[in-house]
Amino acid sequence: MTTPSDKTLIRALFAGDKAAYEKLYDRYAPLVRAVCYDTTGNLADAQDLAQDVFMRAYEKLDRLREPARFGNWLVGIARLRCKEWRRQKLRSPNKSVRLNDDQAVAPDPPDNSRIELLREMITTLPEKERLALHTFYLQGNSADNAHRIMGLSRSGFYRVLERARKRLEQLLIAEQENI
C-alpha cells in the first residue's frame, strides 16, 4: 500500500477526516521536536513546543497555500514558535518555561556518552546543516521528503547533509584526540 502524500492527507482533513491529521502528526512530530530541541535544549520543553506548533498549524491550515509543502510550512511555524519561546525566556527569566531539571525528560540514557556528545555537537552546527540532519534521519534516512521540507533540490540537500556529516566527523575526531 502506498503512503498517502501530505497533499492527500490535507485534502482528507478538509473533507472532515480528522484522523488524517494524526498521520501528519506521526510523520512530522519527531522532526518538529528536534527543531524545537535545538532551541530549548531539553526534550520536555521541546515536546511542549511541538504540541503547540501542531495546534497552531491546525488552526492555520486554511492559510497553507501549497499542501504538498506542508512539512516545509510546519518547520517554518516551529522556527517562529522557537523564536517566541526564546524571547519569552529573555523577558521573563524568573518565569522559566523550561521544566525544572528534575522534571525534565532526559532525551537519552546518560550512560550513552557518544550519543550525548553527538547531540551536543549538532547544536553547534549551522541551522541549515542541523535541519538537514534532522530531516534526513527523522524521515526514514531518505532524502525523498527531506529535500522538500528544506526547500532544496535533491542534490542541494545532499550537499548540505554531507557537509553536516563531515563537520560532525571532524568534531568527533577532535574530541577523541582531546581525550
Binding site: L13, F14, G16, K18, Y21, E22, Y25, D26, A29, P30, L31, R33, A34, Y37, L43, A46, Q47, A50, Q51, F54, M55, Y58, E59, K60, L61, D62, R63, L64, R65, L80, K83, R87, R91, V105, P107, D108, N112, R114, I115, L118, R119, I122, L133, H134, Y137, L138, N141, R165, L168, E169, L172
Partner: protein, 299 residues
C-alpha cells in the same frame, strides 16, 4: 551502506519519538473539528479584513498595525512569488510582526526635497514594543526629546542675518505626555493614510542584491490620497526591505503630478544601533524662555 555515524545518529534521533503515542492522543483530543473552523481565502479584501482584525486586538497600536499591514503585503507578495491572496498575506504577517517585535530602537533619517531639509529620528522601544523614548533633530537646531513621560520642544530663535541663535528669543516648552505615536516615519504615515482614507494599493516587486545583502524592492501606489486639504493625488513609494530581517531600510516618496513622478522625500532606516547614553536626555540651555505646560508648571 550505513556507517557507524549513521547508526549513532539514528539512535540519537530515537529520543524524539519518546511518548509519541501519548502526545498524539493528547493533541488530537484538544483539536476542534475542522468544520467549526473559519475558512477564509480570497484576494486582498479578505487579507485586509484578517490583518486588521487580528492586529487591532493585540497590544500593537493602530498606527503600528497599519505599518504591519503594509509590510505584510510586501513580504507576502515577495514570499509567494508575485501573487497576492489572503493566505499568503496572513502567513507573511507573522514574519513582519516578528520583525517589528525584535526592534529595540530605530533610527530614521528623512530628507525632503523642497525645501531641502534633513530630519533625524531615534526611537527606543520597550520589550513589549511600545515607543518609550524619542529624539527628533529638525532643521535650524530644533529639537524634540521625549522620555519618562515628559516631552521637551526646543525652538531656537535663528537669526538668518547673523547666522546665530538668539538665546533670549529661543523657547523650550515642556509638557507631560504619557505615550507617543508609534512609530513615526514614512512607511507608517503611508500606512495610516491607507487605513484612514482607503487608498488603493498596487505593488510590484523585485528581489535584488545590495552591498552583498538580499533586499526586496517594493513599489506601492496609493491612489487618490489627500496630498493637501483641497487636493487629491496619487502617491508612489519605493520601499526597500532587507530580505533577511523583513525590516524596511530605505524609502523614497513621489507625488504623481501630471503623470510625472516628483520626488518628495527620501528615508533611511536603521535598527538596534548602539545609542549614546544621553541621547534621550534634555538639558535646558541657559537663558532661553521656558514654557512649562505641565500641571503646576510656569507658563
Amino acid at each position: 551502506m550505513k556507517t557507524p555515524l549513521d547508526n549513532d545518529l539514528n539512535k540519537m534521533y530515537e529520543a524524539f519519538n519518546q511518548n509519541h503515542n501519548h502526545l498524539r492522543q493528547a493533541l488530537m483530543a484538544s483539536l476542534p473539528d475542522r468544520s467549526k473552523q473559519h475558512k477564509w481565502a480570497g484576494r486582498i479584501n479578505h487579507a485586509l479584513a484578517f490583518t486588521g482584525g487580528t492586529i487591532m486586538r493585540s497590544r500593537i497600536t493602530k498606527l503600528a498595525a497599519a505599518a504591519v499591514l503594509i509590510i505584510a503585503v510586501f513580504v507576502g507578495i515577495h514570499q509567494f512569488g508575485g501573487s497576492l491572496d489572503g493566505t499568503s498575506v496572513a502567513f507573511a504577517l507573522e514574519h513582519a510582526v516578528e520583525a517589528l517585535k525584535h526592534v529595540e530602537n530605530k533610527h530614521m533619517v528623512m530628507r525632503t526635497i523642497e525645501p531641502p531639509n534633513r530630519y533625524e529620528f531615534w526611537t527606543k522601544y520597550s520589550e513589549d514594543g511600545r515607543a518609550i523614548a524619542r529624539r527628533i533633530e529638525s532643521p535650524e537646531g530644533r529639537l524634540t526629546v521625549f522620555a519618562d513621560g515628559v516631552m521637551y520642544n526646543y525652538k531656537p530663535a535663528y537669526d538668518r542675518n547673523t547666522d546665530r541663535i538668539v538665546k533670549e528669543d529661543s523657547t523650550v516648552s515642556i509638557r507631560s505626555k504619557k505615550t507617543i505615536d508609534d512609530p513615526p516615519g514614512y512607511v507608517e504615515q503611508m500606512a495610516t493614510k491607507v487605513a484612514e482614507e482607503g487608498g488603493v494599493i498596487t505593488t510590484k516587486f523585485k528581489t535584488d542584491e545590495e552591498n552583498g545583502k538580499k533586499v526586496i524592492v517594493a513599489t506601492i501606489t496609493l491612489k487618490d490620497m489627500r496630498l493637501k486639504p483641497d487636493k487629491l493625488g496619487d502617491v508612489e513609494a519605493e520601499i526597500i526591505f532587507e530580505a533577511e530581517t523583513k525590516l524596511p531600510i530605505r524609502a523614497r516618496e513621489y507625488h504623481i503630478e501630471n503623470g510625472q513622478n516628483k520626488l518628495k522625500a527620501c528615508y533611511e532606516f536603521s535598527y538596534n544601533e548602539k545609542l549614546a547614553e544621553d541621547l534621550f536626555k534634555f538639558e535646558i540651555p541657559e537663558g532661553v524662555k521656558v514654557i512649562d505646560q505641565r500641571k503646576g508648571g510656569i507658563r
